[in-house]
Symmetry: C2
Subunit: 215 residues, 2 copies
């Protein structure tokens, strides 16, 4: 039995849902509402699963994992086909570097708890908060667009003609970008990959709006 503790709009949860769907792994969703009761992820019932107080958490075979990228690596080792990391060591590292450019350079800066710190501790107003969110997305997307546009290993997807780990990271980040009104016109390569991904049931069924806890 596999359970994903997640929040429908959490970008990191969305990544893992895509991977579970690509692998064809049946799972249950345990909804953790990030806004109810000041954040259910901060309550003891959840922090005993993950002291970092962050979704998602993956429960599989009686064990718990935190960190979405660790979950994707785990799923890829446990269910090797179809591979999220095809190719030789360098090709695999390339898929990971694209994933990490989102996981490390964009997403953490726009995490809920960071936005709360900006607002409550640094008294940043709504316009400044939106500018902050957009700034880090645009900075990361500009570099990713340049990297992917020039990349001879790119196909319909970030790497080749089947989805890899990199697409599992890119699509939730584009969803986030659109949610925060980032103009996607400067990123035609990213948008073409988005269209290819969202045509697949694995991505479609992982979309926030399709989740049992969707608002």
């Amino acid at each position: 039995m596999t359970t994903l503790y997640s929040y429908f709009r959490s970008s990191a949860s969305y990544r893992v849902r895509i991977a579970l769907n690509i692998k064809g792994v049946a799972y249950e969703t345990a909804a953790v509402h990030l806004l109810n009761q000041g954040g259910e992820q901060l309550l003891p019932a959840f922090t005993q699963l993950n002291p970092h107080a962050l979704v998602p958490v993956l429960a599989d075979q009686g064990k718990l994992l935190t960190q979405s990228m660790a979950m994707l690596e785990y799923l890829d080792e446990r269910y090797p086909t179809p591979s999220l990391l095809p190719g030789d060591a360098f090709a695999r590292a390339h898929i990971r570097e694209l994933s990490l450019a989102i996981a490390c350079e964009i997403h953490p800066l726009n995490n809920l708890r960071v936005l709360r710190y900006l607002k409550h501790t640094l008294a940043v107003d709504e316009a400044q908060k939106t500018a902050w969110i957009q700034h880090w997305i645009k900075l990361g997307f500009t570099a990713l667009e340049q990297q992917l546009a020039a990349d001879t290993t790119r196909g319909h997807f970030c790497v080749g003609d089947a989805p890899t780990m990199a697409d599992c990271f890119l699509i939730p980040q584009i969803f986030n970008a659109r949610r925060f009104d980032v103009d996607m016109a400067p990123y035609p390569t990213l948008c073409a990959i988005e269209a290819a991904c969202n045509a697949l049931p694995a991505f479609e069924q992982a979309h926030p709006a399709q989740q049992p806890d969707a608002a």
Copy 2:
């Protein structure tokens, strides 16, 4: 020939130096000074290597890689012994989740360009900046301490009695914490692991002070 484009005090560069040393891979350092000339990482000579304008970059066998964690995975696949990710799929994922708790939840928030945005765009003063840096380190370390203290797979190192990828991430983050005067007393488990790591030549020789570009 292997070249690491790095900055002596960059936490992400420090991780890769440790891994290269553990694997016994000879490499050259190409220094990229993050403060000279407004930041050498922002100059075309560097951004043509990495459009994300971030160190480190690893050049190996005529190919380039960005993102320190992708480099560590690559080195571990290319030079399997000693392994940075020993064990079964779950054990490997556990090492990665510890690494990612630092790579995604602590380090990106205290990156130079983030601190610059806080100062120049949000007019945050020095005291607020220091409080920001310390806040994210303490938040992450508190959860890591709890996680590792309770972890039956922990040994002298984060996992077991030999260094893994997780130690390559932890030690540079502790170096950073000390640099920003974070009181380490609440984290005895992390400090014990730090002592075990720093007794090894692979860690010692990767220390910022030992680098050719050290100030």
